[in-house]
Symmetry: C2
Subunit: 424 residues, 2 copies
């Protein structure tokens, strides 16, 4: 076996179904509630902002959902993504552990976000949507949705957290390159944005605020729907393509992972990575899941487990999750994509049921991880993804101390080429 | 065979030797001349600016040069690079041609330039060099050399053409991220830079000027050498890894290319792509080579074939090449990497001997090619590489008109994520 092992799958080997963990979880998720009445939300209420097929995917308990042919063909432009052994990193750490990473930066927009932007744009297209409105933190999601919108002929409007908008000028360029429109949030386009700016003209923005603005925009427009890049069940469903591929790739080399790691913002790349391994865990296999989040936005490690809105204005349904409070405005940290007050209900429940561990890492440790990784492995990671690298390094050092030949795998959710200003 | 065919090689299959076309050319290259005496340059004169192993590679006629183990290991961090069938592009063009592209954007710095920056840094390191000084146009080369310098512990100083420096702020960030130092050229660091700025304070710079500044810097410093990212024989030699891999990849699927295409600036990615196929061409196989250059810097299509300096100040040896004249200051076009007044002597000779065709493409056609390619193939190409795409599109349309099932391959020398401002 080569030291620079890279495990590829052919397009024929790419999974043809997404995996729906709701079919297998040994517990029920607490249902989303109507934010006004606090009554259990009816699926049709979601229909105001999402197209029917996505509403169905949000609640179904069917185990496997077929990937539509047009979505499969668009996945095939860049997927399957490679699983790569980080041999140089292993050597540098002098660890007996084997470290693998699933590299999602091969996507057209450089992150895992296209895995869900493509099906979301597709289902909106077949449902007659003309305009998709969304928010974006670091810009990865807005970029991915613009690319998908171009594919399926939708107008894309993006509210981008103002700090990130200013820190990352390239993001605007690439969103425009794909034909999308982007405004810094809070903006003067919406009543809620104006209100926020009235209170504090220097408001740096947050995902919660941007979601509120996007929703307000959806309600104003004809044939407009909303798209969310993380948190929801259907988003995590689409992202399971990551973990399903990882499984196949490990089968090819006859290895089983012991620790599976992802960075955690809203939970989509983490969920996509670990959920396909839930059946193994439930069947008693010794397999650990680790969420890595920033110390400055420690949702899973320090948040409360309770119902909260997904946005700041309180327009979204109430969801049961770990939350720092919907008014939480995270500091201007660099991993803009991880600055979210809440978490995916599925991820929150797994954490609450002790099926998932979470750690919080500070900026210094993650930056150092990014620096080492860039030098050794030749990829500049996205600041978000660096949290997963830092987590993997901690696990590899632990394995060294305990003299354990563990197999560690993490998802490198994207490259950092469009976010270099964050490292400057 | 899948429509989204991607041909991978394992690290074990990566070529272990570079191919030196000087062993096989049926004609002699005209030798470089001393710029003062106009006498044939002695190899030892090159020793003032290049380390001994590179001087030897510049003149050797040995057919295969072994890739040193440390260089091979660093190549293996990202190589072999994939050969990808552009199925969506074929379908869009309704061409009977098969279009493949060799994707060099998987390199750590996003272009083919690391193929030579790594061996150049390596040979300098083993020869005792402490500082490597260079110039860069669009920034690809300066970035690649900084990465390689970090690997082998060298200080890297880069003179970057001022227009590009201003258009591409990300380049400075990434060069600094890898520990390199970069100055816009013309600069006040050197006498020649000062002279240029005295004449015209608004001088936008050119590769020729930047080379002059870099050379002046080398002569001032102890243990400093110069590194060139294109033009020279040893640079093209290192780049043959591209074409050697392409050959192996086509052998795997039992196909032979009919037309091989590269964009042309100084000639390194074009040379690296086509030179390994020269033996086939000499043995009578029907195989065409096509150089694609910008209309605004039409070296091969409109330049004169004569001796000229590689730089503006006239410090470099005189080389026999197509040239627009060393004082040529190209307009501020976007493909900064292609704005060079001269060409590689090997490429120039092939063109002069009618073994290579060249076409010049305008900005509109190449930008449109980039836009279509991004949408269909999910990769935003570097502005330089877009010239090769535009050339491939022309060939595919010709094949359609002639109803020929040609196999077209081009090198996509890099992605454009760090150069988005050029498209703005």
């Amino acid at each position: 076996m080569s030291r620079r092992e890279r495990i590829y799958l052919s397009v024929e080997e790419m999974p043809k179904y997404w995996y729906n963990v709701l079919a297998d979880l040994p517990f029920q998720l607490d249902p989303p509630l109507n934010p006004q009445t606090r009554e259990v939300l009816k699926p049709e209420e979601l229909g105001a902002i999402f197209p029917q097929p996505l509403v169905e995917q949000e609640v179904t308990t069917e185990r496997f959902i077929k990937i539509p042919k047009k979505v499969f063909d668009e996945y095939a432009v860049f997927r399957p993504s490679p699983l790569i052994r980080a041999s140089n990193l292993e050597e540098y750490l002098e660890t007996p552990a084997k470290i693998y990473y699933k590299y999602e930066g091969v996507s057209p927009t450089g992150s895992h976000k296209t895995n869900t932007s493509i099906p979301q744009a597709y289902y909106n297209m077949i449902s007659g949507t003309k305009t998709l409105v969304t928010e974006t933190g670091a810009g990865q999601w807005g970029t991915a949705l613009s690319y998908a919108g171009l594919k399926f002929g939708l107008n894309i409007e993006v509210y981008m957290v103002k700090t990130s908008f200013e820190q990352k000028p390239m993001r605007k360029l690439i969103i425009n390159f794909f034909g999308g429109k982007v405004s810094p949030s809070p903006s003067l386009n919406t009543e809620f944005g104006k209100k926020m700016l009235d209170i504090d003209r220097e408001n740096p923005g947050s995902l919660g605020i941007a979601i509120s603005e996007a929703l307000e925009e959806v309600f104003k427009k004809d044939n407009a729907k909303y798209a969310l890049g993380s948190v929801l069940n259907h988003v995590l469903l689409h992202q399971t393509i990551i973990g399903l591929e990882i499984k196949k790739q490990f089968e090819k080399i006859n290895i089983k992972p012991d620790v599976i790691i992802g960075c955690h913002g809203g939970g989509s790349n983490l969920g996509g990575t670990i959920l396909p391994f839930i059946p193994e865990k439930l069947s008693g296999e010794k397999i650990e899941f680790l969420a890595c989040e920033p110390k400055s936005c420690p949702t899973l490690t320090e948040g409360e487990y309770r119902y909260d809105n997904g946005d700041t204005a309180g327009l979204t349904p109430l969801m049961m999750m770990y939350t720092l409070g919907k008014e939480f405005i995270p500091p201007k940290i660099h991993a803009g994509g991880l600055r979210y007050h809440g978490s995916a209900p599925i991820i929150a429940k797994l954490k609450h049921e002790n099926m998932l561990n979470a750690i919080a890492l500070d900026q210094e440790e993650t930056f150092e991880a990014a620096r080492i990784f860039s030098k050794l492995e030749g990829i500049i990671p996205a600041p978000e993804s660096s949290h997963a690298i830092a987590g993997a390094i901690r696990e590899a050092i632990k394995a060294k101390e305990n003299k354990e030949e563990k197999v560690i795998v993490f998802t490198l959710s994207g490259h950092g080429l469009l976010d270099l200003t964050a490292y400057a």
